[in-house]
């Protein structure tokens, strides 16, 4: 119990893992490369979270406060791990800028994901037209209280298009996975836009709607029934401009007709990429990546959150697109696995 467990990454999964460990009396060292804790929801300024509807700065901010005030947790921000070695029960590692080697009985990687950079899909107009924005930017517009506006001239949009699957499910750019959360997040954003701007029409261009489980009626149905968001089955091929408004170009697959429709604001529901640092993380920690570049999971059923290296655990979006609440659950599960491995490293460390 004296040697701290190393938790790498201070987003929802890392915060959850650290808290769980500390609440059993286990010391924790929480490391994050950013200048503050909270991960994507805080750093990217998310608005209201799915499914609780709480503001990110309250919900995840609360988790951060809880950790910051916990004496069993040492926090190192603006820090990375430079060396990592050893075996379950006796890992050795070094923090950037330190000379001394540290020790950890167990390590949990909660290194998260990176937002897809839509510059990689130039035909969709991001970086070319100021009124083509990402879901993350709209989250920021809402969470900052400034409201949803066109970035070109500050006008309030009358018509907004949300394009799903930008940076997901696209072999052209080597992204064959579904980012899992964009459908629900987009439906949620669409409702928030409609609530804030009742005169504004919101259209969602989709190929499939994946508001899985209980999100179905709370987001997909609700957005139609209560907020009159319109869903059009079409993947947009190009975003252009007529000089005044943006033009989205697609095929309305349900009427088998090409469409070129004007919009004031086009929102790209950007997907979840592997963390841009994953190659480095993999080489330092000696873990394998799966074929898309996320951390490869180990055994699925014997122990929650195992990687390909015994005793080294993973939680959250580091190993694939994940929701916030599932990341939190995985953080807790990984903490449990870490504690187990400390107690009985020979039999249970998987």
């Amino acid at each position: 119990m004296n040697t701290p467990v190393l938790v790498v990454g201070g987003g929802p999964a890392g915060l959850s893992a650290a808290h769980s460990l500390a609440s059993t009396g286990q010391k924790v060292l929480l490391v994050d490369k950013a200048d503050r804790l909270g991960g994507a929801p805080i750093l990217s300024g998310y608005a209201k979270l799915v499914p609780s509807g709480e503001w990110a700065k309250d919900a995840i901010g609360g988790m951060v406060q809880r950790i910051e005030s916990n004496p069993l947790v040492e926090i190192q921000t603006r820090t990375t791990i430079t060396e990592f070695s050893g075996a379950p029960g006796a890992f050795k590692y070094m923090l950037a800028g330190e000379e001394q080697t540290r020790e950890a009985g167990a390590t949990i990687l909660c290194t998260g994901f990176s937002h897809f950079d839509p510059v990689n899909k130039p035909e969709l107009g991001f970086g070319i037209f100021p009124d083509v924005v990402t879901t993350t930017q709209v989250e920021q517009m809402l969470s900052s209280g400034k409201g949803v506006k066109c970035l070109s001239d500050g006008r309030v949009p009358e018509r907004v298009a949300i394009l799903l699957c930008v940076g997901s499910r696209d072999r052209q750019i080597g992204r064959e996975w579904c980012s899992k959360i964009c459908c629900t997040v987009s439906a949620n954003l669409a409702m928030e836009i409609r609530e804030a701007l009742p005169q504004c029409s919101v259209y969602i261009y989709y190929m499939d709607i994946r508001t899985f489980g209980l999100y179905e009626d709370a987001y997909y149905w609700e957005s139609q029934e209560k907020y009159r968001v319109k869903y059009i089955k079409s993947r947009i091929a190009e975003v252009t401009s007529d000089g005044k408004r943006l033009i989205v170009k697609g095929e309305d697959t349900l009427v088998k007709r090409p469409i070129t429709i004007p919009f004031d604001l086009v929102v790209q529901a950007i997907g979840m990429d592997p963390n841009v640092d994953n190659a480095r993380i993999a080489s330092i920690f000696g873990v394998e990546l799966e074929r898309h570049g996320f951390l490869q999971r180990g055994a699925t059923y014997r122990a929650m959150g195992s990687t390909t290296r015994p005793g080294l655990l993973v939680a959250g979006a580091a190993s694939g697109p994940e929701t916030i609440d599932d990341s939190i659950a995985q953080g807790q599960a990984a903490a449990m696995a870490a504690l187990t491995s400390l107690k009985a490293p020979a039999t249970e460390a998987a």
């Binding site: 029409s201 009159r228 009427v255 007709r257």
Partner: protein
């Protein structure tokens, strides 16, 4: 034309001048042929609200396009162009022009309610068909369909008397739609029936055609209904942005 013929182009999208001379040069025919794009270029945002404002159309916004309605549709089986899912979609998205292309068949819904029974989202497609048919008539895209005329003749008899007498109903309908009062196929049928019927019953049937069946003390109901209809009509016309009385059109 790079393909065989013009089947894949809608007639209205083909521009061609058969007699055109510009600056003394004859540019008729092939030279002046041009195909307009078939791309949908905008939505009519208010179309869905129009339909939702009419009786039966209230739940249209719930549709998620699963197609159960069209799958089960009685009329779709006879005519593949009769497609409730498609029309609901056009309305929801606001493709008005596309919808109007089918104005001649939308009223043909037989109200078998198969669609409403299977719809997982309680859209009530049968009601939407009715609302759409009314919308087409209110907007002046179609004259009143035979079905609407029949509904009106029937309803007015109910509203006036409280009951219906079928013989009179048929006669009135045929008259209103300018059809022969004695449809050939009906005549033989009724002649056969008359031959089989005893005199007493015939007399009774004859009498019921003269002494119309009616509900007693109906006048209060008649007035209440008339008042309600006037109110509703005004509401519907207002929702569609039409002058609130038909006369002021």
């Amino acid at each position: 034309m790079p393909i065989l013929s013009k089947h894949l182009i809608r007639d209205e999208n083909l521009i061609r001048n058969e007699n055109l001379v510009i600056e003394g040069v004859d540019v008729s025919g092939d030279w002046s042929t041009f195909i307009k794009t078939r791309v949908v270029q905008d939505y009519n945002d208010s179309l869905q609200e129009d339909i939702a404002a009419l009786p039966g159309g209230e739940n249209i916004h719930r549709c998620w396009q699963c197609g159960s309605c069209t799958n089960t549709c009685t009329i779709n089986a006879l005519n593949p162009d009769f497609n409730p899912r498609y029309w609901i979609y056009l309305i929801r998205i606001g493709m008005e022009e596309e919808l109007i292309r089918d104005k001649e068949i939308i009223w043909q819904c037989v109200s078998c309610n198969k669609c409403t029974s299977v719809c997982p989202r309680d859209v009530m497609p049968e009601g939407v068909m009715r609302a759409t048919a009314h919308w087409l008539e209110l907007k002046g895209y179609t004259p009143e369909s035979p079905a609407t005329i029949f509904d009106k003749v029937f309803s007015s008899q109910v509203f006036a008397k409280g009951k219906i007498e079928e013989g009179r109903l048929m006669m009135r309908f045929f008259k209103k739609t300018g059809q022969k009062l004695t449809q050939d196929w009906l005549v033989g049928l009724i002649r056969g029936l008359v031959l089989r019927l005893p005199i007493g019953l015939l007399t009774r049937m004859g009498l019921s055609a003269l002494i119309h069946p009616r509900t007693r003390d109906w006048s209060n109901h008649r007035m209440a209904i008339a008042e309600y209809i006037t109110e509703q009509k005004a509401l519907h016309r207002k929702a569609l942005g039409l002058p609130t009385t038909e006369e002021s059109r």
